[in-house]
């Protein structure tokens, strides 16, 4: 077990978002966290990543380093892609030569050209920026990675490529991950296990493992799982909620 959330609850200005959340993430396990919009997925991720203090509950961390990949790339505009990837390493005081090596390796892994490494974020396309953000996360050799809807803003084709990249990296580096998404198909593609946060603040609506391992599921299998689950009452909030808002 890498991380355990125990009876976590959080309130913003007195408004309870959720309470009594228990979740443990095992070593090498990728957990997808889904839920209707506004249910506190990102808040829960930020608590798990230590970016905000929960109002209630405790966190048990059993790892050295984590990394967060945000919805927006959040690159420093005044640093080149190379320096952005090295940022996490620099903040933990890794030497310059080692940093340079790690950057080259991670950049190649996420499919960035060596030529693009000396460009500033403004000179890169949206997809390349998100690749840089993923490389920056992977560069610190994290034991656990927190993904906060990282590919929500990229187009469908690129989304697949980036998902495959994460699946591949997770299998190779054996990191654990908490992957927040609102897309059930994405959750089924990348994760071992799926938890759905309910919209009314009453903890998880469901917690189930996904058949097969990420990367080996065919598109057909992913599609079938999503089809079956979309009729499942446990997910009705995820689908009906959207319809209620639309009407």
């Amino acid at each position: 077990m890498k991380l355990r959330l125990q009876a976590i609850g959080h309130a913003f200005l007195g408004r309870q978002v959720f309470e009594k959340i228990d979740l443990s993430i095992d070593s090498g396990q990728v957990i997808a966290l889904v839920g209707p919009s506004g249910c506190g997925k990102t808040t829960l991720l930020q608590i798990a990543a230590g970016l905000i203090e929960p109002s209630q509950g405790r966190l048990h961390r059993k790892y050295r380093r984590h990394a967060v990949v945000f919805q927006e790339p959040r690159l420093l505009p005044w640093m080149t892609a190379r320096d952005n990837i090295a940022y996490g390493l620099r903040s933990v005081g890794v030497e310059k030569e080692l940093r340079a090596k790690a950057v080259e390796r991670r950049a190649a892994e996420v499919g960035l050209n060596a030529r693009d490494l000396d460009k500033y974020p403004a000179e890169l396309s949206g997809g390349m920026r998100q690749r840089v953000a993923v490389a920056r996360g992977l560069a610190v050799d994290p034991d656990i990675v927190f993904f906060d809807e990282p590919f929500a803003a990229v187009d469908v084709g690129l989304k697949r490529v980036l998902q495959d990249l994460v699946i591949e990296a997770a299998a190779r580096d054996h990191f654990s991950a908490l992957f927040v998404t609102h897309d059930l198909a994405e959750a089924v593609r990348v994760a071992h296990r799926l938890v759905a946060l309910s919209g009314n603040g009453e903890g998880f609506a469901t917690d189930r493992s996904i058949d097969g391992t990420p990367g080996t599921r065919t598109d057909r299998e992913v599609f079938d799982i999503v089809e079956t689950w979309s009729r499942d009452p446990a997910f009705h909030e995820l689908f009906d909620g959207a319809r209620e808002h639309a009407s």
């Binding site: 990543a49 230590g50 970016l51 380093r65 984590h66 990394a67 967060v68 945000f70 927006e72 959040r74 420093l76 505009p77 005044w78 640093m79 940022y87 996490g88 620099r90 903040s91 933990v92 030529r115 000396d118 460009k119 500033y120 403004a122 000179e123 610190v140 927190f146």
Partner: protein
């Protein structure tokens, strides 16, 4: 391609800067033409011609006392600039981070802004007498609020999402300041610094003139007493040249160097 770049990039930048000086020179020529027209209308006593002023300037530069006076003024305005910018920026940044400090300091700055610089000169004369101290103090008082405002705005508008990113990687407060806040802050500080650099020269000359404490201001007082108008014009041209030199030789190159990343985002053809 980018590996060989540093030298070429510098040459390219230098070339562009010098080339853009043409536009500036054209503007200055228009001003000189107007000056000449004024001279022809009012005559040499009221407004000496640009040529007379330049001749007076050439004579002035050859005088050893002028070099002394200019050095004195430069020292005073530099000291005033450094103190104003240093204290103003630090106080502004602190106010940006702490609401309590901001609430306390804002009214003070408003009061300081409200007092006319001429009143500060009178006070400084009482406190420091006819020394450089009064000029320096006046520059500090005149320049500090601008840097304060720049520092405050820069820190307040820092990108909190980037700050959260840096925290998620365990970056220390100092590293976050250096890598996230400071580069953003700089874009707010440069306008303030440019203004302060100009003000520093002008206020120093004014304080020197009124406190009779030597420097270019002292020279100006003497020239006025002697009704040597071409010399007055020459001194004015010398001060303006100093202001321009500070801005274009010191501040602009520094700003361009720190803002390289900004230029990278511009499409080809829009650059400069």
């Amino acid at each position: 391609m980018r590996e060989v770049a540093p030298g070429l990039v510098f040459l390219g930048w230098l070339g562009r800067t010098i080339w853009s000086a043409w536009a500036g020179a054209a503007g200055l020529c228009c001003l000189t033409a107007a000056w000449q027209a004024g001279h022809e209308f009012y005559g040499s006593f009221i407004l000496p011609s640009p040529l007379e002023a330049l001749e007076a300037l050439a004579a002035l530069i050859r005088e050893p006392t002028f070099a002394e006076a200019a050095k004195e003024t430069a020292k005073r305005s530099a000291a005033g600039f450094v103190l104003a910018v240093g204290f103003g920026t630090i106080a502004g940044a602190i106010a940006g981070y702490s609401f309590a400090a901001m609430r306390l300091m804002r009214p003070i700055i408003t009061v300081v802004l409200g007092v006319p610089p001429i009143a500060w000169i009178v006070l400084a004369l009482v406190w420091f007498g006819s020394t450089g101290g009064s000029a320096i103090m006046t520059v500090v008082v005149a320049g500090l609020p601008i840097s304060f405002a720049g520092g405050l705005e820069g820190v307040v508008t820092r990108d909190r999402a980037l700050d959260a990113m840096a925290r998620s990687f365990g970056a220390s407060a100092w590293m976050r300041f250096r890598t996230v806040t400071a580069p953003h802050l700089v874009s707010y500080l440069f306008p303030a610094w440019t203004t302060t650099a100009g003000t520093a020269w002008k206020v120093t000359v004014m304080a020197e003139l009124l406190s009779n404490s030597g420097g270019i201001g002292g020279e100006l007082a003497t020239a006025r007493a002697l009704f040597d108008i071409p010399r007055v014009m020459a001194l004015i041209v010398a001060v303006v040249a100093c202001v321009l030199a500070t801005e274009y030789l010191l501040i602009h190159p520094l700003r361009d160097w720190l803002g390289r990343w900004r230029e990278a985002g511009l499409p080809w053809g829009v650059k400069r």
